[in-house]
Subunit: 212 residues, 4 copies
DNA sequence: AATGAATGAGAGTTCATTCAT
DNA sequence: CATGAATGAACTCTCATTCAT
């Protein structure tokens, strides 16, 4: 009845379609309230086809996490390697980028967020894909740390424990996102998330920037 | 004959026992991986009894949220009404209290956290109980805002948008907790959560405290 | 809609009804071609009820095996403990009993037969029930061996390796049953299974009975 | 370029490769726990190719049965037509041959055994192939009967119902194999299967051989 | 108030078979 | 001939909820 994929391109499209459908549903309803049937119906494929492309429900969830972290990694990398701006500016830009990622790829963000409703199996970080995802998340933080290091070397920042500060800064960013998640910030605080992040950073910098 | 024993066993009312069991299980396994049967087994009551005291699964979850927010509200209130300390000290103490709440009542904290795996129905804030919980969470923030206001009036803080700052400060606190949730902070950063919070506040205060 | 079991008797009847339905279906169609739904339909209960009484499909199969081996054990025991007959007569009677068991409880016999289409899991003799069943099957053979021993002691049989002979004799009995299973013996051979067994034994006894 | 390699790989025709893979898997895992995909993977062909050569799953099973019975028939025939040995020796040799077949071609033996986990469809002896297989199995028994007849005519055996004795003797043989299948005989009885068969026959012959 | 047997919709997953390429 | 993506009916099992006792 349904057409068969005749080209490689078609094939890719099919698994893509399924992934897209899954992404939207997971974001919308969460892991547990999304069923395979919902995904296949949205993607316009049969249940069997789903299992051709993905081993099981958890696997497609992980695939999405991987995709999400790849996008973030890419965005972060672009800022990190941008030439001609100071480390100070880079950190601010990184924060802004993170916030932009949250806004533009919120589906991914929610899937990646650890607090979110993930099945037990996902928390056991044994599977190869899980390790890759964890590794990439770590890479993101490492890149940020690199910028801090850069700032110290170029004399912009005071001597500091870069790993610690990286984690704290990013903790604050996540906190602001959490804030947004709860109350729609714009309406409650009357301030845009990106501005808020910038402000939080500015405050933080008062303890980090070298004065002269 | 069985009086004594019964009294002891039943002193803790059945509904209480069920709630306690549910709390532990929801914290441990999350909403979806906790079954009614698990709860009743842990509470040593029958499934039927569960439904005598709680309308359904979602209802007991909400009851726990309510209890959790009540405890927090109480803890916050105690700090707010403590006499003889400055607003500056109060804010620091409030942050410390929030962190203590997270640590001591983590079961409640996880259940309350919005990002966490909550069923669809919970996100629709229509039910009366949901409104009460939301209201109380709002109260917590209002109390903190009150302290900031107090600080401005007593000349400790600069003029500022108290609501905005309240939200930002608490966003940062949540961020730090998220940080803790991901990596066991103590091991990764080598710093205790409470210390970290204090430090984050200190930085923030550099922009808030009135210098003279 | 459906009535609830109000008495313990009713409850027992329900699990019995399920077991009975399963027995007939397993015998008729084999393990793999019997579905849980078939069983519940035949037993007039819901699918859920099945899982109230039996953990899963394999478990009910084992329960049947257990029941079957219990019946056989009982029948064997009755012959073994029959007073006033010689060991020679007892062995013949045991064989006859085994054949009768095959005919009267064929459903059980087929379920117990090792060659029959059993799922992989059943072949792994790890589960407690499996061990019990195996133990009982062993008991059956041990009882037969006991009769042979008795015969040697009373001077009816020549000295022989009782365990070995037990196994060979029972191997022959199984062979005859297999024969019956393939061709309906009565029609092909014109001889009843029990007679055949008696004849096979008679031949065997020519090497076992003490002549004097 | 790829000629040589192809020749070698393809020498064994595809249908042959598939059959071989199926044989091993059916023997190893049984009919129901063997999937078409397993077979095709093991045979290094595509699923489509499987269906080019075999109508469906049941058909390849039957093809294997046919092959198996052909081998047995051939082995039996060779003994039957061996010149210069008595009927008595021939019967013993036939039994030995059957046991050897069981050991050497156990994969086929298991597939042929009627008690084993065969799908419903196979038990309905309607299909043409099924009839052929049944016919060949019948031929095997007929050949054995022929040897008995031969023995009577040459005065080695007493007058007897040859068809009946054939079935009984072969029933005993199957019983011994069943015995072996259950307990590894060698270890339990301390006697090799072939020796056991010889012994069983010897006992049987005490009632069959003409004494003079 | 307390019970727990009974329910059945619905979940995830499998797999023999088809058929366009 | 050969392929393997696509299918979907059918399977086993779960679990929130009900309700007769």
């Amino acid at each position: 009845m349904k057409r068969r994929a005749r080209t490689l391109e078609d094939k890719q499209k099919k698994s893509e379609k399924i992934l897209q459908a899954a992404k939207e549903l997971f974001f919308d309803k969460g892991y547990y309230e999304t069923t395979i049937e919902m995904i296949t119906e949205k993607a316009n494929v049969s249940i069997g086809t789903f299992y051709v492309y993905y081993k099981n429900k958890i696997e497609i969830y992980k695939a999405l996490q991987n995709e999400g972290v790849d996008i973030l990694l890419d965005m972060i990398q672009q800022v990190v390697s941008r030439p001609g701006i100071t480390a100070h500016e880079k950190v601010i830009e990184l924060a802004r980028t993170y916030m932009r990622y949250y806004k533009e790829y919120r589906e991914y963000f929610d899937i990646m967020a650890i607090l979110s409703a993930t099945p037990r199996e996902l928390k056991e970080t044994d599977s190869p894909l899980s390790k890759i995802i964890d590794g990439k998340a770590y890479d993101v933080l490492r890149k940020i740390q690199g910028v801090l290091q850069e700032g110290i070397e170029s004399g912009v920042f005071v001597e500091l424990d870069t790993w610690k500060v990286t984690n704290v800064l990013w903790g604050i960013m996540d906190g602001l996102i959490l804030l947004e998640e709860r109350n729609n910030i714009k309406n409650v605080i009357g301030l845009d998330l990106e501005d808020l992040a910038a402000q939080a950073l500015e405050i933080s910098f008062s303890g980090i920037l070298k004065r002269n």
